[in-house]
Symmetry: C2
Subunit: 314 residues, 2 copies
């Protein structure tokens, strides 16, 4: 009845629908769901805390949800924990597809692969060839490195707080920084993978002669900036500081912090596009052989006042 050669005009069709709706009728969703074999739900399967605290994920998921909604889908939160209730949700086919971000346990990836549940990985790499979408953290790292090198810094450190969950973007950002440094023929990157106390020790060690530090995220930047102030190290006069992710509270700190922004909203809608594409392809009986290749999005430098040329050595 949904054919285009229907004798009933489009206008009439619409009027009928409109009237039916006004009379309070709506298609029963559970019945449609059973009959069509669809749930019209996408599961957001996540480990640990709700993955929204970080502004990057907040924005990304916002646009992800919007795009899904425009296609008649809703996003369902599926926490992963020891109870394995997430497994029931997937095996019971409570969702038509799923999204994961940041990281996922192996058995989760195995499960979706076995069951053939359409899945998209957001900001995640090691994905068994599953459709993925992530920012180009290596390129972002190069952006950061070049910015500092152009300002005249020779000796640069990167600081990552290792108490946080590791993420592949750490390595990627590091590689980008190193590439930029190598290209410029400057001295090699000093890596500080530790907590804030120890980062301070390294930065203040004059034998390292560090004049600029790149923090992995706004979290490291916020606490390190505080410590620097406390220790009487002025930013950017004595030390340039920058980080990744253009999120709260970077713009409100003293000084406002230079950062490399990831295209969070774009990741969201691209992800939705990809996932809905997979679901569509699956239902139209296509072979699932053509897994879409990973989409990689460019990052962008946002210059603020926490980075400046190094003090000339006196």
């Amino acid at each position: 009845m949904s054919a285009e050669d229907c004798p009933i005009s489009e206008a009439t069709r619409r009027r009928v629908r409109q009237t039916a709706r006004e009379l309070g009728y709506r298609a029963n969703w559970q019945a449609q769901s059973l009959s069509r074999g669809r749930t019209y739900a996408i599961g957001l399967v996540y480990e640990g805390n709700l993955p929204f605290l970080d502004g990057v994920y907040n924005e990304m998921l916002g646009s992800f949800v919007q795009s899904l909604r425009d296609a008649g889908y809703h996003l369902q939160l599926v926490p992963v924990d020891h109870q394995e209730s997430w497994k029931e949700a997937l095996l019971g086919r409570r969702v038509d597809g799923c999204a994961m971000l940041h990281s996922a346990p192996d058995d989760l990836l195995d499960t979706v692969a076995e069951l053939g549940i359409p899945t998209v990985l957001l900001n995640m790499d090691r994905g068994r060839g599953l459709p993925a979408i992530c920012p180009d953290d290596e390129q972002g790292g190069r952006l950061a490195g070049r910015h500092l090198l152009e300002l005249g810094h020779q000796r640069i450190a990167m600081y990552v707080d290792t108490s946080e969950t590791p993420h592949f973007s750490i390595a990627a950002r590091r590689r980008g920084l190193e590439q930029a440094i190598e290209q410029a023929g400057a001295r090699e990157l000093v890596m500080i993978e530790d907590n804030c106390e120890d980062a301070m020790a390294v930065l203040r060690d004059t034998s390292h002669d560090i004049t600029a530090v790149v923090c992995y995220s706004q979290y490291e930047a916020t606490s390190l900036l505080s410590r620097l102030w406390t220790a009487g190290v002025s930013v950017p006069r004595d030390m340039s500081l920058m980080c990744f992710n253009d999120e709260f509270p970077l713009a409100d700190l003293i000084p406002p912090v230079t950062t490399v922004a990831v295209p969070s909203a774009e990741m969201g809608w691209r992800g939705a596009e990809m996932l809905l594409g997979c679901i569509g392809a699956e239902s139209s009986g296509d072979q699932p052989g053509d897994a879409p290749r990973p989409v990689v999005l460019q990052e962008q430098l946002i210059t603020r006042s926490s980075t400046a040329p190094p003090r000339s050595p006196s």
Copy 2:
């Protein structure tokens, strides 16, 4: 078949279920859903951005989701916008109940009331007598006020950034502060409802003689603290500063900021308890007359180093 006088022992029942499950069988969820007239989904209906950026909501929703999951329910994100797709979701009964936080448009509240969809309001008051759960912001305000008064402050300001969406807790926190001030016989509260620039002007106006400022949230506190530093006003030596919500980055700022914490996790599980209670009562045919009364939870003072006795007037 679910009776307790069943001849099949509990152990056998479990073994059968276990085996069936191992053989790969699970009850088809869509069919169950249709047959039982349940969707096993709760809608989180929200306006604007994803409501998780603020750490308070993050933690609250985390425990909300967990509790729902333990009861076999999933939380579905239902954004409210001009397209009114949320209305379709509710009218189509795509959810068994819903949760709202912070604020909700009138037609949304009307809709759930008309349709009789079990609903719980999280951190929201003006709710048509709907089940609600919120922190006692007035009590929190008193906590803040007493803390500063005990330190010896006489002239206190409260700062709210009016560019943010208004929330009833602003008034409640203000009332609490005023009550504490009145009780102590100190001078009246100076209200600053504006942006950060103007807040600075008021604070530096010596005719006001303000020695302590209470910020509405971590956002105001973060930016105001920055401005104060920039202006050479030392916290807490020249000015005590505190706020509400124990969230990032308060503990990482210089100095770490004193704050009044809301019991976010408890709000979450209490809310789930309440909502599931309503759904259960509804299905067991009880009259919906006994709407649970609002639950009000106590807040807690967390003292850090941004508050201190005022400088003795020289």
